[in-house]
């Protein structure tokens, strides 16, 4: 239940502005790939093109190919809704649905699409997803309480449970820990380590230590200056990127000389 993503010659535009230029990257199945780089270099923008979430922003468009196990996400007639049901996303700020209980938040992907599900199946799905997100023990006695009553870290894990409940092939995470404290961050990082057994995980992070801790492969994005497009500088095994990068800019960034 995981697929690889191959991106070829991808340009991302906001209107006429070229935001990310010429990205070619292979993202392996059942592994964690981290995107690092300074602010504004287009990591999040690029991440959103992997499940066509950039289309929510007016004027955003891409050129190039994104292949999910050989199927082009941007091929003619491809429905972005189908893409997003295969490639889930977790956002920077926890965003559980305020009108729904914890249980309904987990079931949101099923219920909002009006799929019929028996109560028994729903119970199994809720328990499996919450266990998958390491949240079950904390919330099993208050599944009917609103999701907004949880702590920030718990809410973020609830959002991860919600994302894995629709059984995607790939999970994209856009700085999932930047709004969380170290303990909650640790819980999410442990979770990412477990998730890669079943899913392809792509994570954007500002925290280089976090990239080094959780990822198998790391991609470094950089920007030449404001107004210039962001570029993929280098991608490789996390160990290589952090200890022996081939590009000078990567070395400067990971060693803390800038950024």
């Amino acid at each position: 239940m995981s697929k690889r993503i191959d991106v070829k010659d991808l340009n991302v535009y906001y209107g006429d502005f070229l935001a990310v230029e010429d990205v070619t990257i292979n993202i392996e199945a059942k592994s964690v790939t981290a995107f690092i780089g300074p602010s504004g270099c287009g990591k999040s923008t690029f991440l959103r093109t992997l499940n066509r979430m950039h289309e929510v922003i007016p004027g955003a468009r891409v050129e190039g190919e994104v292949m999910l196990d050989g199927d082009n996400l941007y091929g003619p007639g491809v429905d972005p809704v189908t893409v997003r049901s295969q490639i889930g996303m977790v956002f920077q700020r926890p965003n559980p649905f305020p009108t729904m209980s914890i249980r309904d938040n987990v079931l949101a992907g099923v219920k909002l699409n009006n799929k019929k599900i028996s109560k028994g199946e729903a119970d199994v799905l809720v328990e499996r997803s919450l266990k998958g997100a390491n949240l079950w023990n904390e919330v099993k006695d208050r599944l009917e309480k609103p999701g907004s009553g949880l702590s920030g870290g718990q809410q973020q894990r609830l959002c991860i449970a919600r994302a894995i409940a629709v059984e995607p092939q790939v999970i994209l995470m856009d700085e999932p820990c930047s709004a969380l404290d170290p303990i909650s961050t640790l819980a999410i990082e442990d979770l990412i380590n477990e998730l890669k057994d079943q899913y392809t995980v792509v994570i954007v992070t500002h925290n280089m230590q976090q990239a080094a801790r959780v990822s198998d492969r790391t991609a470094f994005f950089n920007i030449a200056g404001t107004g210039k497009p962001g570029k993929l500088i280098e991608v490789g095994d996390t160990h290589t990127i952090f200890s022996n990068p081939t590009q000078k800019a990567t070395e400067d960034y990971v060693s803390g000389r800038f950024g």
Binding site: V56, P58, R84, N95, F97, T99, A108, L112, S148, A163
Partner: protein, 370 residues
């Protein structure tokens, strides 16, 4: 053994020096009331003047005492407080005065037997003359008008809410601030400013042209009211939909949920409390409209439970005709009593709607808590 400890003296703390005692405002108020009454007694007493003079005396007294004891900063603070409280009381005066007048004049009408359960059908000047001259009970009631108001307003709501809500959804979710969306926003703003009588004339002319000349029914009035209601509903719903965080929409999209489902199942439920209370306030706004109903539904003295045929009474037009054309021109008092009673009922309806809006907002609000 000599104690070096000094006993704790019950004196005012050094930190609270230079403050007015707690009772200061009350003392000044009492003095101001007494002095005010004395001054007014010299020129001829009246309650309004007494209040005004006392308020001025209170402000002057408190501020100058404070200036003497506490210094200029505290005195300015007291002056500002006096101004704020004074403005609040002035703003409250008309409201209290209206409620008081309507209560005093309306209660005799409201408690008259059969006031809420009978119509004006068959009530003629003869009965009113008898009531005024021989002390017989005032008969006749507002049942037909109450029924008409409820039917007309309900139909207007049924027309306006879907149109207004769908317009708001288009503006917020699909309009993208494009040319059409901006044009709609502009015309909605124009609609907000339409005088209610013009809305009534529009509805009347429209039905005259479409159905036939002289068509005056509750439905025509409902159309006129919805012309007034739609912009209010659009505006309030639009604001409520706008404040739904974009993150919730993105969260739903990322789960592979279609846009229209996201709107129906995530955006609207999140905003429903605000939308519902906005609609209720819009109803409260149009329920008291008189002019558009006069030209569209005419005036009836009997019960009409069919909103699509025949003239129909409503509370505002009932009040208007009872005051302007008393049932018995020789003795207008019974008519006036009925009009005040109807006014009281109308105010109670509006108050209930406002309370309802608050209740709805609370019931539908997203639940928090652990």
């Amino acid at each position: 053994m000599t104690s070096t400890l000094t006993p704790v003296r019950s004196k005012r703390s050094a930190l609270t020096k230079g403050q007015l005692p707690k009772y200061a405002p009350y003392a000044v108020l009492a003095a101001a009331l007494v002095v005010g009454a004395a001054i007014l007694a010299l020129v001829g007493f009246n309650a309004f003047g007494w209040g005004l003079v006392s308020a001025l005396l209170f402000a002057i007294g408190l501020v100058s005492w404070s200036a003497a004891v506490e210094g200029s900063r505290k005195a300015k603070d007291k002056l500002a407080t006096c101004l704020v409280v004074g403005s609040f009381l002035i703003a409250l005066l008309p409201l209290i005065s209206v409620i008081w007048t309507v209560l005093v004049n309306g209660i005799p009408g409201l408690i008259a037997p059969g006031f809420l359960s009978t119509s004006m059908n068959g009530v003629t000047g003869v009965y009113d003359n008898r009531a005024a001259e021989e002390g017989a009970p005032v008969i006749g009631g507002i049942y037909h008008a109450l029924l008409g108001t409820i039917q007309i307003t309900l139909l207007a709501t049924v027309i306006s809410v879907p149109v207004g809500l769908l317009t708001a959804i288009y503006l917020v979710e699909y309009g993208n601030d494009g040319r059409i969306a901006r044009a709609i926003t502009f015309f909605v703003d124009v609609m907000t400013g339409i005088p209610s009588i013009v809305a009534g004339l529009f509805a009347a002319a429209f039905f005259f042209a479409v159905v036939g000349p002289g068509t005056k029914t509750g439905a025509v009035a409902a159309v006129a009211l919805s012309v007034l209601m739609i912009p209010v509903v659009v505006r309030s719903s639009e604001e409520m939909l706008k404040i739904v965080p974009n993150e919730l929409r993105e969260a739903a999209y990322a789960l592979g949920v279609r846009k229209w489902r996201t709107i129906i199942k995530v955006v609207i439920p999140t905003a429903i409390s605000g939308i519902a209370s906005g609609v209720t306030l819009a109803i409260a706004r149009v329920i008291g409209e008189t002019a558009p109903i006069l030209v569209t539904a005419g005036f009836a003295t009997s019960i009409n439970s069919n909103v699509f045929s025949g003239w129909m009474a409503s509370l505002p037009t009932f009040i208007y005709t009872q005051i302007l054309n008393p049932t018995s021109p020789a003795n207008p008092d019974p008519s006036s009593q009925r009009a005040w009673g109807a006014a009281l009922v109308l105010i109670i309806l509006v108050m209930l709607l406002n309370l309802g809006a608050r209740l709805i907002a609370r019931v539908f609000a997203p639940k928090t808590g652990r």
